[in-house]
Symmetry: C2
Subunit: 220 residues, 2 copies
């Protein structure tokens, strides 16, 4: 069957619309079967040359979770400084739920990726794109199941890789906070908090060549 | 409402399971309203620091489409050579539908990304991850609507960027072939064609630290 029923199509658009990057979690872990479904959804993601470059590390050791948190919090402070005039605004945001979430995962790129040339000879970074698609699958499946997820990229990848004994060539790309939530934000939290606004779609879509009128002066 | 109905959850898992990277298309363009829905789904993707780094270029000029095709075909041949002993296997695969598909899009990273530091100070490549998530949204929405999509990364990004007049700092990340299809592949085409197999999920999931037993010799 090619086109889904109207009801199923609506469900797909709804989950895309209602997915949120969550930083507020309730206590309590996830049912193992549910976590298995989410990981399977990730594993059904597309990958360049079908290389399946994603790896997931469950953090179940509480001391290890504390160490991940320290790395994230250190980078949060360094980011604040780097932001300059927006430093105070940034420090007021809740940007992660590493300690509170019910389940903590680290998503990583596998090692030995150089053996995979298909679709990567000129675009080696397509392996990261594949992992991101897998994570988006997980995110959408979680939302449908009523589970919140946040993608945290505030960390030094070399330090996090060392902490988790990643082999040479592997690389962490996401700290994923998963868990039950009181409610999903009605709009992206960074928009609620006036950090940034969703831009009009029309400004994102060009025809045949780039058109840059963001500053009122077409340059294409 | 937090958890979706069983029926809606099933629809979300189904679209994740049935999404395919398509290279075979029927003739005929897409209804503009449908294309608009797909682009909106992409635009609802997550982005690091809510930076929304994605841009989409619709290729409606047929000569331009031919030029895109030539770039893709050139990289296809160069990839084949780079693959060495798998060269012949690769050349037998259909790896793109650039000329046949009803709608051709190029997805790109915007210029002036260096202004966005949140979540990117140590992980600048998170902008690409955001674009990939947006594309995955588009892909899933297309599948639900019965529309096929293929992600082609066989091109020289500098040459494609020049062809589409991308400004300095912007970068193409995907040639997206969209269109009606006779049928969706029952499994990933690269698996049907014995290029690669889906690996067992268990080998992708570790606990607390990396475990590398892919070669039978644990190294973690």
């Amino acid at each position: 069957m090619r086109r889904y029923t109207d009801s199923d199509i609506a469900a797909v658009y709804r989950v895309i619309e209602e997915r949120r990057d969550m930083r507020h979690f309730l206590s309590g872990g996830l049912d193992p079967a549910l976590l298995g479904r989410l990981l399977r959804a990730a594993h059904l993601g597309p990958s360049v040359g079908f290389m399946q470059p994603w790896r997931f590390i469950r953090i179940t050791d509480q001391e290890l979770r504390q160490s991940v948190y320290r790395l994230v919090d250190e980078e949060r402070r360094l980011t604040a400084v780097a932001l300059g005039e927006r430093q105070d605004d940034f420090m007021r945001l809740k940007v992660e739920g590493v300690l509170e979430c019910g389940e903590l995962l680290v998503a990583a790129l596998m090692d030995r990726r150089e053996a995979h040339v298909f679709g990567r000879r000129t675009m080696p970074e397509m392996d990261l794109a594949s992992v991101a698609c897998a994570i988006q699958n997980l995110w959408l499946a979680a939302r449908a199941e009523g589970v919140g997820m946040g993608w945290v990229s505030l960390f030094d990848p070399a330090q996090l890789g060392q902490l988790l004994a990643l082999p040479l060539g592997a690389r962490p790309v996401a700290v994923l906070c998963l868990g039950h939530v009181g409610e999903f934000y009605s709009e992206p939290m960074l928009q609620q908090q006036k950090w940034a606004e969703r831009q009009p779609l029309e400004t994102m879509v060009f025809e045949n060549r780039w058109r840059n009128d963001e500053e009122g002066s077409p340059s294409g």
